[in-house]
Structure formats: structure tokens, C-alpha cells
């Protein structure tokens, strides 16, 4: 099954030098993620989960240990090669959406494709439209972020993460800025992408509520994995959404 391993973390350590002190954010983290998994990484603040996320996202490199993304050892790569890897293999979803202001949804989704020189203008547009349709925003391509609700903005961000057909979607507190209903909507979309399209998702969160929707939870504390468990009863976000009391605003 090793060919199916999307992520391989072997004794990942990350230390920061702050003045004279050395902060050890990760003290040897090892786990694998297989294709098609929906993993949540949980931990309170200070547990090292942000540091881990940065390493998983190829934004940062471990001080020691090996990290293999889709079979490529990230530790040996240059800054430019890391950028290429991020472009081709990872789709980021952020807590604050990070959409470009005054820019249409379509252009926001197209953005990663601009850094991929192999695509023509038409391919770029078609793929961006496809990704928008996949997040059910095909009719909002001309809307700018200010014309979209928080949930819609996050869906545009998810479309942007999907557009380069990455091997993994890496979400960082992607529901942190959203209310419960919208959070569940986003999770329903994530589950759909995971179950129907087979997308591998790594979701960093500190909400146990959200973790219940994933198939596996990795718990971090003080820079170490303290629990790595399969979730036997994955909660369906769609059902959870249906169970919510009807919104009063409507």
C-alpha cells in the first residue's frame, strides 16, 4: 500500500531559535496519510499544529526528519522547487479565505493556474469554471469577494484549492470564521469531495465538533502525536445540517 501513501512523516523535528533560546515546536512527529483519507489534525494552541501545517504545506522545512509528499522528499528541495510542489500537489484553504479583493470569483480561482506555464488561456478558464461548479458556485463567477457571503467566499477558496488538481487539500481552520450552519455546509462539501471525488484532505482544527466529520484524527500536544485514531462513526455533515433548527433569518 506504500504507493498509496500521500504523506509520509518520519521523526519530524522543528526547532526555532529565538534569541538565545531554542524553541522545539515539533519533537519527532511520525505518521502517514493514505490516498482518500480525511484526516483532522487537532491540538490546542502551542501544540505545534501550525508548525506542522506549514511543513505539510511545504512552506517550511523540518529541522530534521523526512517528509515525503507523494513520494518526493521535501527536505532536499530548494525554495523554487517547493513553490512548484505547492502549485502542483497542494491546495490550501485558509481560515481568512485570502481571496484577492475586487477580483471576480473566477479570477480568484484561476490564480494558481497562472503559475503553471503549461496551460492555455482557455484551459485555465475551463478548469476554473469546472472548479467553481464543483463547489456549486458556477453562477457566481463574476462576483467579487465583497459580493459573496463568508461561506461562499470559503467555497471560492476551496475551488481555488481544487483547480490545480492537487494530491491533497490542506485546510487551516477553514471553518474558524464561519457560523455553525455555514461550517457544516463547508464540511458537507469537504466530505463530498472526499467521498465522491476521492480527494485526500488534511484539515487542521481545534474544534472536536469538526473533527467528528473526518475519518481519522491526529491529536498533537507539546510537539508530539499523543493520539492517532480512526473514526469509526464518521458523522455526516449533510445530516447534521438537516438536524439544525431552521435559520431564523430566512
Amino acid at each position: 500500500m506504500s504507493s498509496n501513501k500521500i504523506l509520509e512523516l518520519q521523526q519530524i523535528k522543528r526547532e526555532f531559535v529565538m534569541g538565545t533560546e531554542t524553541v522545539r515546536a515539533l519533537k519527532g512527529v511520525s505518521f502517514d496519510v493514505f490516498a482518500g483519507e480525511f484526516v483532522t489534525i487537532m491540538g490546542s494552541s502551542g501544540s505545534g499544529k501550525t508548525t506542522l501545517l506549514n511543513i505539510l504545506g511545504c512552506l517550511d522545512k523540518p529541522t530534521s526528519g523526512n517528509y515525503l509528499l507523494d513520494g518526493v522528499n521535501v527536505s532536499n528541495l530548494s525554495r523554487n522547487e517547493l513553490a512548484r510542489l505547492r502549485n502542483h500537489k497542494i491546495g490550501f484553504v485558509f481560515q481568512a479565505y485570502n481571496l484577492l479583493p475586487r477580483t471576480s470569483a473566477l479570477e480568484n480561482v484561476e490564480l494558481p493556474l497562472f503559475y503553471n506555464p503549461e496551460l492555455t488561456v482557455k484551459e485555465r478558464r475551463d478548469r476554473a469554471l469546472g472548479a467553481l461548479q464543483a463547489v456549486k458556485l458556477g453562477d457566481r463567477e463574476d462576483h467579487t469577494p465583497s459580493q459573496l457571503s463568508g461561506g461562499q467566499q470559503q467555497r471560492v477558496a476551496i475551488a481555488r484549492a481544487l483547480v490545480n488538481q492537487p494530491v491533497m487539500i490542506l485546510a487551516d481552520e477553514a471553518t474558524g470564521n464561519l457560523d455553525t450552519r455555514t461550517s457544516y455546509e463547508i464540511m458537507a462539501l469537504m466530505q463530498e469531495l472526499n467521498q465522491q471525488e476521492g480527494k485526500t484532505i488534511v484539515f487542521v482544527t481545534h474544534e472536536p465538533d469538526i473533527a467528528a466529520f473526518s475519518s481519522r484524527t491526529v491529536m498533537l500536544r507539546d510537539g508530539k502525536v499523543v493520539k492517532d485514531s480512526k473514526n469509526e462513526n464518521v458523522r455526516s455533515a449533510k445530516e447534521a445540517l438537516a438536524a439544525l433548527p431552521p435559520a431564523e433569518d430566512y
Binding site: 525554495r79 505547492r86 479570477e107 490564480l111 506555464p117
Partner: protein, 406 residues
């Protein structure tokens, strides 16, 4: 990343902040327009001074007699008589850099027509004198070499003389005037030339073949002066040297003897005037150049602010696969687009305002291609130079920190 993608990214980024892009551009627009308009004014006035000078005959060379040494005593001066037809013919034959030469035998006298008379100067010249002095025949004809050969009693009148002898406005051509006791038939009139740069009325003149003056009035073989034209303004110096050599030969001067004639050109005057106007151009350009630099600093300032303001955007771009060089090039291309677009608008505005200045104020302007090219190159360079540091700052951001920047 391909160049087209790069330009599209930069254009879209600028599009998101049109007003700011335009305001940044404004500095460059004003700078470039100012450079072009200022240089146009400077060049225009230089050109107009030069054309005035050449209408006076800027390649004109004057040969005057000078002192002679007789037994250690220097005698004579400008009244010294040393120039003869031999000198004129020698210059005509031998000087390569001289295009025309004419002797001048002049005298003063009372011109009389009917009941009217007027004191004026009579100048005996060769037909080539008209070319040398840039004189134009307004009415009638000029005299010919045949008239010179026969010492014909014909003359061409200047406008001041005409005004005083023919006040009623009748055409003087064909009439016979008298100069002292010599009757002269008027065969032509000269176009008005106005005052010379020395305050002399250039129209108070009667021109006649030099032989007429020499044989019929003065009874001399000498000339007061010889006028010549160098083949071009630049050849003045060479022509001067040639003339000196030729005249030393015809005057049979030994190497130790000093010249008994002097050769003068307009070159000094031209040099002084053009150095004044060059200074004016440099001054105006410098002032305009400063505004261009300020425009460039404006670009740098805005780009720096923009890098700070767009830190999250930069972080995002890096997280979705932009390399440092992609970010650097994006910001650089943004700066270049601003400066080049500003440059193009500035060129148009500068050329237009030069035209408007000419039309409204009547100042001569000359838009030179070199000033357009120069200011355009300078502003593109400004874009690269002032855009580079902010771009580099952007490209060196740590994506992790940039993403979390508040």
C-alpha cells in the same frame, strides 16, 4: 511563468487599484511632459536664434585691410588700401571652402531723384554679393557680370532709399536717379532687411557694380573690403585659413611679415549665442528632470506601501505556487507598466503642450526625437530602478509570516 501570464497578473493587480495606479502614474506623466515641453522650448529658441543668424549670413567672412609696416612704422589701419581685384580673383580660383566672394568698394553720397535727395551709402559689389549677404530682389532684377565688365550705370535700391526718394509709392524700377553727378538707372529693389545686430539700418543702401564705383566715382583700384561665404557654417574656420594663405601670397608677404589684412567670421557671435541657449536648455531640462526623479520616487513610495498592504496577497501567491522570482517580477512589471504608460501619456502631453505654447504664446518650440527617446528611456529606467527594491522586498517575504500578516 510565461511573460504573458506575468503581464496579465501585473495588469490585473493594477486594475484592482486603478485610482492609485493613475495617481502614481501622474508623477511620471508630469515629469516626462515637463522634460519634453521644456526641451522643446529650449531647442525652439535655439533654433530660431540660429535661423535669424543664418539669415544674416552666418557663414559670412569679412576681409578688411589692416596696417602695414613701412620701415618699422605701422601705418594705415582699416583705411589702408591693400585689397584689389587680384585678391578677389585669387580667392575665387584657389579657395576650396569658399563658395562665393565679392569685393566691396563703397562711398557715401547724396542720392537725388527729381526734387528729393537723400544721403546714403553706395556700395559697389559683384553679383555674388547678394548671395553672400542673403539679399533678396523684391522687384526688377539684379545686375550681372556683364554690367560689372562694362561698369554699367545701373543700381539696386534698398527700402530706406526708396522711401525717401519715391515717397508716393511709385515703382522706382526703370527710373534714373543721380548720385552726385552720375546718373544711375534703377533696375531692381531689395527686400527690407531691417536693422543689423549692431543697430545699423541695412536698407539704407544703393548697390551697383563695383567697377562703376571704382572707375566712375572713386577712380581707384582698391576695395574697402571683400565679402566671402564659406561653403557651410562649420567650414568657416577652414575657409578663413585658406583666405589668409591666399592673401599672404598675393600680397607677397614674407613669413616674418604680419598680415596686412584681417579676416573676420560670424562664428564667435554664433558660439556665444548658442552657448547661451544651450545653457537655457540644460537649465530647463534639469528642472524637468528633477520632477521626473520625484515621479520615480513616487513610484517607489507607492510600491513600498503596496507591498506592505498586499503582504497577505503575496503570502497567498507564494502558498499557491509563486516563486520568489515570480513575485519580484510581478511587482517590477507593475512598476514598469506604471512608468511606461505614464511615459507614453507624458510624451503625448508634452508634445501637445509644446504645440499649445507655440499657438498661444507664440514661443518657438521644437520637439526633438532625442528628447522623446531620452525621457522615455529615463522613465522606463526609473520604473525598473525604483520598482526593483520594493519588488525585492516583496519577493523576500516569508510566506508563513505573510499569510498571517494583519
Amino acid at each position: 511563468m510565461s511573460a504573458i501570464n506575468l503581464i496579465m497578473i501585473a495588469l490585473k493587480a493594477l486594475q484592482r487599484n486603478k485610482l492609485r495606479a493613475f495617481l502614481t502614474m501622474l508623477g511620471i506623466i508630469i515629469g516626462v511632459a515637463a522634460v519634453i515641453a521644456m526641451v522643446a522650448i529650449g531647442q525652439g529658441s535655439k533654433e530660431s536664434i540660429q535661423s535669424q543668424l543664418s539669415s544674416m549670413g552666418s557663414n559670412m567672412i569679412t576681409i578688411l585691410p589692416s596696417s602695414n609696416v613701412a620701415g618699422g612704422v605701422r601705418i594705415g589701419g582699416e583705411s589702408f588700401q591693400s585689397l584689389t581685384i587680384v585678391d578677389v580673383q585669387a580667392i575665387q580660383r584657389n579657395a576650396e571652402y569658399v563658395s562665393a566672394v565679392s569685393p566691396v568698394a563703397s562711398t557715401k553720397g547724396q542720392a537725388i531723384y527729381g526734387a528729393l535727395n537723400w544721403p546714403t551709402s553706395l556700395q559697389g559689389v559683384a553679383p555674388s554679393y547678394f548671395d553672400i549677404r542673403k539679399l533678396t530682389i523684391l522687384d526688377g532684377v539684379s545686375f550681372s557680370d556683364a554690367d560689372v565688365a562694362t561698369a554699367a550705370k545701373v543700381c539696386v535700391l534698398g527700402q530706406t532709399v526708396i522711401k525717401n526718394l519715391f515717397p508716393s509709392g511709385e515703382s522706382p524700377v526703370g527710373k534714373v536717379i543721380r548720385l552726385g553727378s552720375i546718373p544711375l538707372q534703377v533696375i531692381g529693389t531689395l527686400e527690407a532687411k531691417g536693422q543689423s545686430s549692431f543697430g545699423q539700418d541695412q536698407d539704407d543702401i544703393i548697390l551697383t557694380p563695383y567697377t562703376t564705383v571704382q572707375k566712375r566715382i572713386l577712380a581707384t583700384i582698391y576695395f574697402q573690403s571683400i565679402y566671402a561665404s564659406a561653403i557651410s557654417e562649420g567650414a568657416s574656420e577652414k575657409a578663413t585659413n585658406e583666405i589668409i594663405d591666399i592673401l599672404r601670397t598675393t600680397h607677397r608677404l614674407r613669413p616674418a611679415d604680419e598680415n596686412n589684412f584681417q579676416v573676420r567670421t560670424m562664428e564667435e557671435l554664433i558660439k556665444t549665442l548658442s552657448s547661451t541657449t544651450s545653457l537655457l536648455t540644460i537649465l530647463l531640462t534639469a528642472i524637468a528632470g528633477i520632477s521626473l526623479v520625484i515621479g520615480g520616487i513616487g513610484i517607489m513610495n507607492i510600491m513600498y506601501v503596496s507591498v506592505t498592504e498586499r503582504t497577505r496577497e503575496i503570502g497567498l501567491r507564494m502558498s499557491i505556487g509563486a516563486r520568489g522570482i515570480d513575485i519580484l517580477l510581478q511587482f517590477l512589471v507593475e512598476a514598469i507598466i506604471i512608468s511606461v504608460t505614464g511615459g507614453i501619456i507624458g510624451v503625448i502631453l508634452g508634445v501637445t503642450s509644446a504645440k499649445v505654447i507655440t499657438l498661444t504664446l507664440g514661443w518657438p518650440t521644437l520637439v526633438s526625437e532625442s528628447s522623446i527617446i531620452l525621457s522615455f528611456v529615463v522613465c522606463a529606467f526609473t520604473g525598473v530602478f525604483f520598482g526593483y527594491y520594493p519588488a525585492q522586498a516583496a519577493s523576500r517575504l516569508d510566506p508563513i509570516e505573510a499569510l498571517r500578516y494583519e
